[in-house]
């Protein structure tokens, strides 16, 4: 984190393009740009009490998890445009490492998630050596190949991993072991994690690394020509992305209590991480959040209410949404959302008190 901050400060002096931090003294609480995010945060914090129902709370928890992992995927897939379809590897490593540490040595998942993150970074580095020379379809398909290899290895070495039957998290109801009674405490843990991911993504977006990633994603040859160290940027983006994905993986398994190779390393899992970003908006901080808030409830609700009548309807709708978004709004739905948000701001009391009416970022 410290590194990222330093980079970000450097970037502000080096790159005039970076939006200057709004330290205006006139930027007070009466400005909608300040109080609207605060209201949003308050709504998120109180949401479990508004819905007050385990069923919807579970959906919200899944939304927060997928928003977080979407943000992590987006760092590599969105900003740097390295379209990974193998992020299930890092997610699964996060889930497996923390669970295995618990089962074998009774080590808390709070420690295990960091260990999982480190293992994911190491595995990611090796995979990166292989796939970063490839482009486009070749890159995407190779990442699928790697996730299949990892899945088969987990099945093959069943003495260590539990094999195809999967592993269950030992039940130890305590904060220290990252386990809670009921779904409510998980909501706040996941919310804090999502906010942390948002801040991290924002910091990276405004850092030198972030600009390098975007430049490389737009045109690798041109980025190389202006002196960007391409392999280093790719590996750094992958390391951060893999670490964050693994952390969410640990939280996921602590919530589901179960992990199996065929599910967690499947192409479908990896594709879902990518989809929340694509539907929401690639290479934007809030795109994956918006995508998760749209896609996850659609899938879960249609399955729970219509799954008996029409099994498969949920993912059929999911597929249709994806096709429509790609054809009609290739930049994701965040565009519509931010335009309406900007419009809403102009209608709110206190608009313009910071002395400017234009867009901030």
């Amino acid at each position: 984190m410290d590194n990222v901050k330093l980079e970000s400060e450097k970037a502000m002096t080096a790159l005039p393009l970076a939006a200057p931090p709004n330290k205006d003294s006139s930027l007070a609480v009466i400005n909608p740009r300040v109080y609207m995010p605060m209201i949003g945060l308050a709504v998120l914090a109180l949401l479990p009490f508004i819905v007050n129902n385990d069923y919807f709370l579970n959906i919200l928890n899944l939304v927060l998890l997928f928003a977080s992992v979407g943000i992590a995927w987006n760092l590599l897939g969105g900003y740097a445009r390295q379209v990974s379809l193998g992020h299930g590897i890092f997610f699964g490593i996060g889930a497996y490492v923390s669970t295995l540490l618990q089962i074998n040595w009774n080590i808390s998942p709070w420690v295990g998630m960091i260990a999982g993150g480190i293992v994911a970074v190491a595995v990611g580095f090796i995979i990166g050596l292989g796939v970063f020379r490839l482009r486009g379809h070749y890159f995407a398909i190779s990442t699928i190949a790697f996730s299949t290899i990892v899945m088969l290895l987990f099945v093959k070495f069943y003495k260590i991993t539990g094999g195809a039957q999967g592993l269950s998290v030992p039940l130890k109801n305590s904060f220290l072991m990252l386990q809670f009674n009921g779904k409510l405490p998980y909501y706040y843990v996941f919310l804090v994690m999502m906010l942390a991911m948002i801040f991290l993504a924002r910091a990276i977006e405004r850092s030198r690394l972030g600009y390098y990633m975007v430049a490389m994603g737009q045109d690798e040859q041109a980025a190389k020509a202006i002196g960007i160290n391409i392999p280093r940027v790719k590996h750094t983006a992958l390391a951060i992305s893999a670490f964050c994905t693994a952390i969410v993986g640990t939280l996921y398994v602590q919530y589901m209590y179960f992990v199996e190779p065929a599910g967690i390393f499947s192409v479908t899992m990896s594709v879902e991480f990518a989809l929340v970003s694509i539907v929401g908006g690639l290479g934007t901080v809030f795109g994956p959040v918006l995508g998760a808030f749209i896609m996850k409830p659609v899938v879960t609700l249609t399955n729970d209410y219509l799954g008996n009548v029409l099994p498969g309807l949920n993912y059929t709708i999911y597929g249709f949404i994806l096709i429509l978004v790609i054809i009609l709004r290739p930049n994701g739905l965040i565009g519509i959302f931010s335009v309406s948000y900007e419009y809403l701001l102009t209608r709110l009391p206190g608009y313009g008190t910071d002395g400017k009416g234009g867009k901030e970022s």
Partner: protein, 291 residues
């Protein structure tokens, strides 16, 4: 280890690989001509299987004869998908193509689940459990039939591309679509015909394997995955590469089943794929080479 074991493993590998080859030829043809990698390709195989299953159970004709139904049906499906979907993403970044076709995969796979239900259908014929014994080895009859269909269709495709006007126009569009359009080839028409042939070949693969493969909405997923690996291994757009790549991966899988374990046989296939990618990122053959 006995010679007979090695021979048996090789034969099994070729039989598996033949089906991969047929599925991959369709995929690589689509890429070569239309420049799209279709992530819903495996689902075309699944649709071919359902077409065959329903034709067989309604008419009672031999499953192999249902090729006369499954291939035209899938040709129409492929052509429609090209005309109303793929047309919009030709020339788009690979990310757009990947996720549009992934969306199509979701729709086809789950649409099949919605329409046909989750039941596993098995098709039994008189020769489903037969095997031919050739000296040291035994060859399963339905797998052999599938392999023969693969060979016949691949040969027909190569003949079509090299000796008919339409095939030559297709090859021309594959090499350079702008020049092809300049010399008067209706490339739009070529594109939907190519997409139709691609889907028809894959549907035929579905028919070919039906005597020994259960029919379920997810039946195409594994074959789709193997086809992506195969076409990359054999260089995207290269038809001969797809055939050879399919056979190589089939052999690898068969040896993997024998020497690693039954449930992790594909480790060897994927391992070979990764090694090739490290040494020759462009694949074993030249990309988009003519037939």
């Amino acid at each position: 280890m006995h010679l007979s074991t090695v021979l048996q493993v090789v034969i099994n590998g070729l039989l598996i690989g033949g089906v991969y080859a047929l599925v991959s030829v369709g995929l690589t043809l689509l890429f070569g001509v239309v420049d799209i990698v279709n992530f819903a390709h495996g689902e075309f195989l699944m649709l071919g299987m359902y077409t065959t299953y329903w034709t067989w159970s309604l008419s009672g004709m031999d499953p192999i004869v249902t090729l006369i139904v499954s291939m035209p049906v899938m040709f129409v499906v492929g052509a429609l998908v090209q005309k109303y979907l793929f047309k919009y993403i030709m020339g788009a970044p690979s990310l757009t193509q990947i996720f549009l076709t992934v969306g199509l995969q979701f729709v086809l796979q789950n649409g099949a689940l919605m329409i046909f239900g989750p039941q596993v259908h098995k098709l039994k014929t008189g020769y489903s459990d037969l095997a031919i014994h050739l000296g040291l080895v035994a060859v399963s009859t339905p797998q052999l039939i599938a392999f023969v269909i693969t060979i016949i269709l691949s040969v027909l495709l190569f003949l079509f591309l090299s000796s008919t006007d339409l095939g030559k126009a297709m090859k021309a569009s594959q090499q350079d679509r702008h020049t092809a359009a300049l010399i008067g080839i209706n490339t739009d028409r070529i594109f939907w015909i190519a997409a139709g042939i691609s889907a028809a070949l894959t549907g035929a693969a579905g028919t070919a394997i039906i005597a020994y493969t259960p029919v379920v909405p997810t039946a195409g997923a594994t074959f789709g995955l193997m086809a992506y690996i195969t076409v990359i291994l054999g260089s995207l757009g290269n038809l001969k590469g797809a055939v050879l790549g399919g056979l190589i991966l089939g052999l690898a899988e068969s040896f993997g089943i024998q020497f690693i374990s039954a449930d992790a046989g594909r480790l060897l296939s994927f391992f070979i794929f990764i090694v090739v990618m490290l040494i020759r990122p462009q694949g074993l053959f030249a990309a988009k080479e003519s037939v």
